[in-house]
């Protein structure tokens, strides 16, 4: 069976997997963004706090993702839970780091001006610091998403959702007729999803970065 025939036969299954893959990554990204920006906001003003935040999220990245999922299975069982936890943790680092870098990069004289004209801590963050730090934060989100696309494939090892199932099925049946097709379809699917997400982020940037600071 040629690759194209394979796609034609299995397109239903492939689309479902692709959708689940995308949806898992998207949802984990939302959680990681909220958590990451929050960690950034809490820690950026103290040198000590932000190094702790960056080091701990960086440490997570050094754990092989397969091992992380494997270690989570006895704790939270199979399926969605270990997938979501792993993806969220892995997605944190770029967002935390870019949030801290972005918030610290806001011109101190602007923060001084914001205070000076009577903005409260919250207003300052909401109206001045976060909007100005948004471009680097968005870059962090983009990098995170690319990374999670690949890592999400591993989730199939814990019976998680997504295109990883295609890849693992192919690897498990190496030598059989459709093994290579299956791996190829899963991999290409992930690449295409990653490109689609990236395009979406470019659009999001155009819509959300204020004209005055757009490069």
């Amino acid at each position: 069976m040629s690759f194209w025939e394979y796609l034609g036969n299995r397109h239903q299954q492939l689309l479902t997997d692709a959708f689940q893959h995308a949806s898992a990554v998207f949802q984990c990204m939302v959680i990681a963004t909220v958590l990451g920006v929050l960690i950034g906001v809490v820690s950026y003003r103290s040198g000590w706090g932000s190094s702790v935040a960056i080091t701990s999220t960086a440490t997570v990245l050094t754990i092989p993702s397969l091992a992380a999922i494997g270690l989570l299975i006895p704790l939270v069982g199979l399926g969605v839970a270990p997938t979501v936890i792993t993806l969220t943790l892995y997605g944190l680092l770029p967002i935390v780091r870019n949030s801290i870098v972005g918030l610290r990069g806001v011109d101190p004289s602007l923060v001084d001006a914001a205070k000076g004209i009577g903005m409260s801590r919250i207003t300052r963050l909401r109206k001045v610091e976060l909007p100005l730090a948004w471009p680097p934060i968005l870059t962090g989100i983009r990098v995170s998403t690319q990374m999670l696309m690949g890592i999400a494939a591993i989730a199939a090892y814990a019976s998680g959702p997504g295109l990883g199932n295609e890849i693992f099925r192919g690897i498990a049946s190496l030598g059989s007729a459709n093994a290579i097709n299956s791996v190829l379809a899963g991999t290409l699917g992930i690449v295409i999803l990653a490109l689609l997400f990236d395009a979406a982020y470019v659009l999001l940037g155009r819509l959300t970065i204020p004209r005055g600071i757009r490069v």
């Binding site: 004289s109 001084d112 001006a113 914001a114 000076g116 009577g118 109206k127 100005l132 005055g212």
Partner: protein, 420 residues
């Protein structure tokens, strides 16, 4: 009908808040971990509607002192009073909304348009949308920017001077009684700075805010200040007085060092041509017959005449002999007047004109350019001498008063001590 129109017509000058007094009492700032205070025991009374300049070398604590007024830096001890209110312990966020604040780099938020920047404080204090909108237009107008053109622009599309104007507009938007300015014109080129200073003088003339202005440029201080506080390390006040008094009677070597050379020259910037004696000068007009001009030149005590054009404006300097050399042709005779000053010009400008003029005098003109009189070297020298002498006398008198006050106080203290 006409009454309703008059009632809805905004009268910014009428309902604008004018300045409030500021009192600093033993204000001290000690940063943790440093042995000596950054600001040590500053006390100062600033009158309502007054422009006070803090001037001093960098690192002397002048900015710190300024930032303690709106409590961007919390004082370690001491009290701050604005108007009748002790603001040392009130919510700093509320306090700052009542104090305009303009800084060196303009501090405009780059992600907001000019209008959004200006609208920030009025919105925060809860003005209605339509009132905020009107106010933005009014403020842009006030600082000399066309509202239609600049309203929707982002700060990066403005020149440094324009950004600074918007910065001042933002600081004044909610009509605060007090305006703090931290080296606002430090980062713009000298020509623009000069314009902005003139503009600020004009604004202050209309608004009568209480302005506290920090700079390290003594010339800027002289130009803008009603009073100048010369500060040395730890924000100790070396002298706090009018520009005239500081120029003519610096209290010590530190102040005179800061005033720099040429105090007499700087004094010229403080006096206008209208304050000195403007001498009369024989004139003729272009329509006078040649013979009468001849006679005037030959018979009069002057060697020289000023010829006016048909609208009474200075046209040519005519010397005895000029007519002869030009063989009687008025068109060729004499020297064109190339520089005049108005009565509002500073003596500095007048001196400049006198020095560049070959005859050592300059024609003074009125509002429509009509001739009023001349100022020459001798007049300038005399009036400068008089000014300096007068300054010296007031300074001595002032010192005398102070001494008397002090002896009075000492006597009282001694008596009080004896009573206890």
């Amino acid at each position: 009908m006409s009454e309703t129109v008059a009632a809805t017509e905004p009268e910014p000058a009428a309902h604008a808040t004018s300045g409030a007094t500021i009192q600093l009492e033993d204000l001290t700032k000690i940063y943790p971990g440093t042995p000596s205070p950054a600001v040590d025991n500053v006390s100062m009374d600033i009158k309502a509607g007054e422009t006070v300049i803090f001037v001093g070398p960098s690192g002397c604590g002048k900015s710190t002192t300024l930032k303690m007024i709106n409590r961007l830096i919390e004082p370690s001890s001491g009290r701050i009073r604005i108007g009748d209110e002790d603001v040392t312990d009130i919510d700093p966020v509320k306090l700052r909304r009542k104090i305009g604040y303009a800084i060196q780099s303009s501090g405009l938020f780059p992600h907001m348009t000019v209008a959004e920047n200006i609208a920030l404080v009025p919105k925060m204090v809860g003005w209605s949308k339509s009132k905020v909108k009107d106010r933005v237009e009014e403020m842009l107008d006030l600082v000399g920017l066309d509202p239609r053109e600049f309203h929707g622009r982002y700060p990066r599309a403005l020149s440094g001077g324009q950004q600074q104007r918007v910065g001042v507009a933002r600081a004044l938007a909610a009509d605060p009684p007090v305006l703090l300015m931290d080296e606002p014109f430090g980062a713009v080129d000298p020509i623009t700075r000069d314009h902005l200073q003139d503009e600020l003088i004009r604004l202050q003339h209309e608004l009568h805010k209480t302005i506290v202005f920090v700079t390290h440029d003594f010339d800027e201080a002289i130009k803008l200040g009603d009073r100048i506080a010369v500060l040395r390390e730890h924000s100790h006040i070396a002298q706090f007085d009018t520009p005239e008094a500081i120029l003519t009677n610096p209290t010590d070597d530190f102040v005179s060092g800061f005033v720099g050379a040429g105090a007499a020259l700087k004094r010229l910037n403080l006096t206008r041509v209208r304050d000195v004696e403007i001498a009369e000068f024989p004139t003729v007009t272009v329509d006078d017959p040649l013979q009468s001009i001849f006679n005037k030149l030959r018979s009069g005590p002057h060697n020289e005449l000023l010829m006016l054009d048909r609208r009474n404006r200075p046209y040519k300097w005519l010397r005895r002999g000029d007519l002869m050399r030009a063989r009687g042709s008025l068109a060729r005779a004499g020297q064109l007047v190339h520089d005049t000053v108005t009565r509002d010009a500073t003596l500095h400008d007048a001196l400049e004109a006198v020095l560049t003029d070959s005859g050592g005098r300059v024609a003074v003109t009125g509002r429509r350019g009509e001739f009023i009189g001349v100022v020459d070297m001798q007049t300038l020298m005399n009036s400068v001498h008089e000014l300096l002498e007068a300054d010296r006398l007031t300074a001595i008198e002032h010192q005398h008063d102070l001494e008397e006050l002090r002896t009075h106080q000492t006597v009282q203290e001694l008596e009080g001590g004896a009573g206890a």
